[in-house]
Amino acid sequence: MWQWFLQLGSPRLFYSKTDRYLPWLSWITVILLGTGLAWGLAFTPPDYQMGENYRIAYIHVPMATLAMGCYAMMACFSAGYLIWKIKVADMIAKACAPIGASITAVALATGSLWGIPTWGTWWIWDARLTSTLIMLFLYVGIIALRSAFDSIDSGARACAVLSLVGVVNLPIIKYSVDWWNTLHQGASNLSLSDTAANPPEVWIPAFFVGFGVLGFFLIALILRTRNEILLRERRAQWVSDLVEGNQKESGHA
């Protein structure tokens, strides 16, 4: 296990290993996501309060969860990069930011779309929506900081420090926004996840979608990290071989 993990720390081995994993991961993801979404959209009974509209939950909830999980992951890899100087860790952390930002944006968009019929308006300063919005700001900040540096190394270390600062702050921000919301919204807490005692036919498809979305996230992360490896290791012989190999293949075709 440890050996396998260490091997992923070498850019070249990361590239060749993921080459082998990617097809499997893709198939599992397609099956999970396909089943889960079809099930959630058409085969679960409608909610007795929100009707068919609650089907948005099948994508909104995993997106909102993943938005936070992605940030935690980025911070872990940032720490790994700062402590052990593992280059691949930084490449993964770099890949996390744009994916996390787009996931957060979708969580916000679906939350708003859910809000229109439920709350009568597409935006309210709900604790969850607000902290998701702040999450998006944090991602944007990290992307902006990375792009402001010319040197890859300085940008990587600066972003790693910022992600760690962000991850310490995140629970405080979340807590403060929750507190602020109860202060300003009074008792009118029309929470999105207020679907108590969900029957299994509701949460089993949610399980499928959840793992499917996780699979998609890993695929997107691996694809971006592989590109980053090709770019940064472009002087290495194996990358040249790889490119030449591609050339030969395309020459034959």
Binding site: L82, A144, L145, A148, A158, I172, S176, V177, W180, L183
Partner: protein
């Protein structure tokens, strides 16, 4: 400089603060500009939103907190920029004294230079914005505990961006989201007091955040400065 390494920790901190204050009074812009920004920005709100006192008292604590927060953010430029350009930042990083306390001393002196004048004027402007008297004390206590946190967090952002040529707006994007808890609890204290609820719990929370910020942010500032200087 020679006997610097034999100085005790306390006297190093005092010496750093004294040096920073002396420098600030030689270029008074560092003291006056944040204050002027605060005064002018607060004045814009009645002009833009109307001078109706019911409206003003509703937004008073928010306006004062937000403009203080922005003033601190803009003032961060003077914390490391000049030191970075004349090379004294490099010397600071190589100094035999523990960097942790040197950085704390630097942030403390920045707080004295840029925040204390705002703090002194804040109650005056709170009254001008028709804030009820019950809100003044929690406002000041909140600012007293909250502005050092803002300085420490701002110093992290500034340390990260000091090596970049155009860092003004980037700094805002980086640190404003991190300022949210201070803003929320600071304005919350005033609202609680105006609803005649106890606000000491929130003050304690703010104090806890301050302790956390004092413990952790010098580490982040040091790491960030090392990246920017190398």
């Amino acid at each position: 400089m020679m006997n610097n390494s034999r100085m005790g920790l306390g006297s190093v901190v005092v010496a750093t603060v004294r040096r920073e204050l002396l420098l600030a009074f030689r270029s008074p812009g560092d003291v006056i500009n944040p204050l002027m920004f605060f005064i002018i920005a607060v004045t814009l709100f009645p002009l833009g939103g109307g001078a109706d006192s019911a409206f003003l008292s509703g937004i008073a604590s928010g306006v004062i907190w937000v403009t203080t927060l922005l003033a601190i953010m803009f003032s961060m430029e003077s914390l490391f920029r000049a030191d970075y350009e004349d090379g004294s930042l490099e010397q600071l990083l190589m100094s035999p004294q523990p960097l942790y306390f040197l950085l704390l001393a630097k942030v403390l002196s920045h707080w004295l230079i840029a925040c204390l004048p705002i703090l002194i004027l804040a109650p005056v402007f709170a009254v001008m914005l028709a804030m009820p008297v019950a809100g003044i004390l929690p406002l000041i206590l909140g600012l007293l505990a909250g502005t050092p946190i803002l300085c420490l967090l701002g110093a992290i952002g500034m340390a990260l961006t000091v090596g970049l040529s155009r860092s003004g707006l980037l700094l805002a994007v980086l640190i404003l989201p991190l300022y949210i808890p201070v803003l929320v609890f600071g304005t919350g204290m005033v609202s609680a007091a105006l609803d005649s609820l106890p606000y000491t719990g929130l003050l304690a929370l703010m104090g806890a955040m301050l302790v956390l910020a004092i413990c952790l942010s010098p580490l982040a500032i040091a790491a960030a400065l090392r990246i920017s200087v190398n």
